[in-house]
Each structure stands twice: as structure tokens, then as C-alpha cells.
């Protein structure tokens, strides 16, 4: 460990300038804060967090639509726990649940399927939020519901994929990223090859990283070495879980059920081809079509800085709402709600230092 930190120090001197490395995975964000490894980095190595928390990048109009759904008679909304406290325009799923609406927290999309079987008179709508890691599990639920001809299960889909979002970040001149710490568990599914275009087109090094503090430090070392040597390649630090081409069965299932679509990312805006929509063949499981869901324009607190935080151009500490009134107990923006949100990480680990 000590050698790793010494190598980072030496390599950063060889690079000889400030370096901005971005992690685009909320689990990396939390691992980096929790372990305290940020304090071990030289002052010229800046670790910034990108849009790696799916809850945080979900457009608020999606939440308003989900909140509207859970109040409809005959509907049960099933969701991962991360989403329930995120505020929409006027309410949250948690608040609606406290007032009697049908919102169930599930651990797996397969649990939502079980719920649908147990409640045949209700329409169970699963909130499909997440990146490539999660998408195959939701694809499986839809595929299985189709196979079993289950009529009362559907998905409100807001799935997103990483490569196009990373492309948009690189093109944003305000951000200026020197290297990417690429998401480990997304890459388990997709394979490490999906980042190659970033190296080839933009000459930005990429390292797929594991989640132990050692993994993240090693990835930083690999990125700095590439910068020092003028290389831009995809390196795979997390080879114990990630292969070049990923999990073929999971990819097949994803492609069977979903197709690319344009989608809006909170803080970034519309990114062409960065979302996933349910294919026409599975339209009977698309909550938008089954229940006629609308996405009215949402209103967010104009002082909330989550958008800039998600692009890595502002620190949570720059936000005038941070700490008071926005805190994990009373969150205003999604980055404070989610256990993987950057603001929540700063609140938990950096507030005193600030």
C-alpha cells in the first residue's frame, strides 16, 4: 500500500501538472470516501465524481410520473430502496407511501415479479432505473413475465448506458478530464472494450477499477503512468471480475428486451442513444404504454446544484443549499438522497474538513 502511494506521488511529479481523474460509478465514489484514500493523494491529483449514481441522474419528471402512478387505484409501485426518498416536484415515493399509497421496496426485479404473482388483481409497476449492471436483471424479469404470460407486471423504464454519457462529458470543455476510473460492475456486463473509443478518439486513458481501496489506488497509479508516458489505453485493473467482452448471456438478454433511445440525464441534458427503451415486442410490459404514463415537466429547486455536481464541474461544498437546508435527513437534490450520491458522501465524510 505504501509503495502504491509512493508511486502515485512520483508519477504525479513526472506528469508535472494538475490532473483531474473522474470516477463514473457511485460505488467507487463511496469506496473512495469511506476508505479515506483521497487524503493520501498528492494535492495535484484531483478525484472528481461524474454521473455514476443512477438515481441522481434520473430526470425529475420520471419521479413525478412514478409518484403519480403509486396513487392510482389498482397499481403497486415496486422499486429499489434508493429511489423512494428522492424528491419530485411536490412529493416523494416515501411521503406517498406514508400517506397510504402502494409503494413496495424490493431487493431484486425478480421480487417484483413474485409480488405480481401474489397480487393478480393489481398492476405491479417496477421502476427500471440503473446502468448496464442492473439492466440484465430487469430484462430477465420482463422476459420471464412474457414467457409466463403474466399480464399484471410492467416496467417504467429509465435505464441508461455509460459510454455515450462519458462521450458527452469528454466533449464538455468545462470539465477537462485527464483520465477515467471506469465503472467495475458495469464492465462485468459490457466488458472493458466499450471504453476503447475514449482512448482512440480523445486520447484519454481509461482504467477499469475494482472496489477495494487498493484497487482504486492501483487504478490511479495506472492512469498517472499512462499520462506520464503519453499513452491512452484501456487497462483492466479489475480483471478478477471483468473480461474484454463481458457477460454474453446478460448482453443477449439486454438486447432481446431493450433497444437504445435518446434520454435526458439530470445535469447533462439529452444524450443521443444513451438510454434504453423496451422493444415493441415486449410493449405489453412497458408501463408507459400499458398505463398511459405521462411525463409532465418537473420543477426543481433553482438553487440546487446537483446538475453541476453530476458533471464534475462543481463540488457539493460550492452549493449554497449544502448542509443547511439540504442534508441526508432533509434532502433537496438527488445527490444528497442516494447512498451513492456525491453530496451525501461529502456530507458524511468531508463536512468537518470543510
Amino acid at each position: 500500500m505504501k509503495t502504491l502511494v509512493q508511486n502515485i506521488e512520483a508519477l504525479s511529479q513526472r506528469v508535472g501538472r494538475d490532473v483531474k481523474l473522474m470516477e463514473v460509478c457511485g460505488t467507487h465514489t463511496m469506496a473512495a470516501f469511506r476508505s479515506g484514500l483521497r487524503q493520501l493523494l498528492p494535492g495535484c491529483v484531483h478525484l472528481v465524481s461524474g454521473p455514476g449514481c443512477p438515481v441522481c441522474v434520473t430526470d425529475p419528471s420520471y419521479l413525478d410520473a412514478a409518484i403519480d402512478l403509486c396513487g392510482r387505484p389498482g397499481v403497486i409501485v415496486a422499486t429499489f430502496g434508493d429511489l423512494v426518498r428522492v424528491p419530485g416536484t411536490d412529493s416523494s415515493l416515501e411521503r406517498e407511501r406514508a400517506a397510504g399509497a402502494s409503494v413496495r421496496i424490493v431487493y431484486s426485479p425478480s421480487d417484483a415479479l413474485i409480488l405480481a404473482r401474489e397480487c393478480p388483481s393489481k398492476q405491479v409497476v417496477f421502476l427500471g432505473v440503473g446502468f448496464e449492471t442492473t439492466v440484465p436483471t430487469v430484462a430477465w424479469a420482463i422476459w420471464r413475465a412474457a414467457r409466463d404470460d403474466l399480464k399484471n407486471f410492467s416496467v417504467l423504464c429509465a435505464h441508461k448506458t455509460m459510454p455515450r454519457a462519458m462521450d458527452a462529458l469528454v466533449r464538455d470543455k468545462a470539465i477537462n478530464i485527464d483520465g477515467f476510473i471506469c465503472p467495475g460492475h458495469v464492465s462485468v456486463i459490457t466488458g472493458a472494450h466499450i471504453y476503447r473509443f475514449i482512448c482512440e478518439r480523445y486520447r484519454i486513458p481509461c482504467v477499469v477499477s475494482g472496489f477495494e481501496a487498493w484497487d482504486i489506488l492501483k487504478s490511479i497509479e495506472l492512469l498517472l503512468r499512462q499520462l506520464a508516458e503519453g499513452r491512452a489505453q484501456v487497462e483492466n485493473e479489475y480483471s478478477r471480475s471483468v473480461s474484454e467482452h463481458g457477460n454474453a448471456a446478460a448482453q443477449r438478454l439486454m438486447n432481446e428486451v431493450f433497444e437504445p433511445c435518446d434520454t435526458a440525464w439530470r445535469g447533462i441534458g439529452m444524450i443521443e442513444g444513451s438510454g434504453l427503451a423496451i422493444r415493441e415486442q415486449y410493449a405489453g410490459f412497458d408501463a408507459v404504454k400499458v398505463l398511459g404514463v405521462q411525463f409532465p415537466k418537473a420543477h426543481v429547486n433553482p438553487l440546487c446544484n446537483c446538475g453541476s455536481v453530476l458533471r464534475g464541474v462543481a463540488s457539493p461544498l460550492d452549493c449554497q443549499l449544502f448542509g443547511r437546508p439540504c442534508s441526508p435527513a432533509h434532502p433537496i437534490g438527488p445527490c444528497m438522497v442516494s447512498g451513492e450520491g456525491v453530496c451525501a458522501a461529502y456530507y458524511k465524510y468531508e463536512r468537518i474538513a470543510a
Binding site: T27, V129, H185, N247
Partner: protein
């Protein structure tokens, strides 16, 4: 949200497995990995095994965890 945890398969019935995470048991789906076997170490995300670790990969994780002492790095 992309959290995934390593776990060992302790029971296996077709595409459903019972896994043990530090002693806690839970049923997961194993249809996304090739030929799951009893005793396999798998990576679990949202109720699904998404990757199988070979013995050498488990040993790598154990070595990394043993080496992860940040206090040593600052002394």
C-alpha cells in the same frame, strides 16, 4: 446502485441458488452465468449472479484485502 457482493453457492436448484454472504442466506437467480456449480464463488447484484470467480481470483481479492491497510501507507 451498482453494488455487487461476492458470495458462495450453498444450494443449487436449476437456475435458482441459495448463496451465503458471510453467513446470511438468500435465494438468487444464476441463469446469467455459465454452468453454475455448488461451492462456486459468484458476484451478486440485485438478486442475480453476474460473474463467477475462479479460485485464483478469490485469492487475489484476499491478498488485496490483506494489503489494504491505509494506516500503514501514512506511517
Amino acid at each position: 446502485m451498482c453494488l455487487a457482493v461476492p458470495a458462495r453457492i450453498v444450494e443449487l436448484h436449476n437456475s435458482t441458488a441459495t448463496i451465503s454472504v458471510e453467513g446470511a442466506l438468500r435465494e438468487v437467480d444464476v441463469s446469467l452465468i455459465n454452468e453454475p456449480r455448488l461451492g462456486d464463488f459468484v458476484l451478486i447484484h440485485a438478486g442475480f449472479a453476474i460473474h463467477r470467480w475462479e479460485q485464483s481470483e478469490i485469492e487475489e481479492l484476499e491478498a488485496i484485502r490483506a494489503a489494504t491497510d491505509l494506516r500503514e501507507a501514512i506511517t
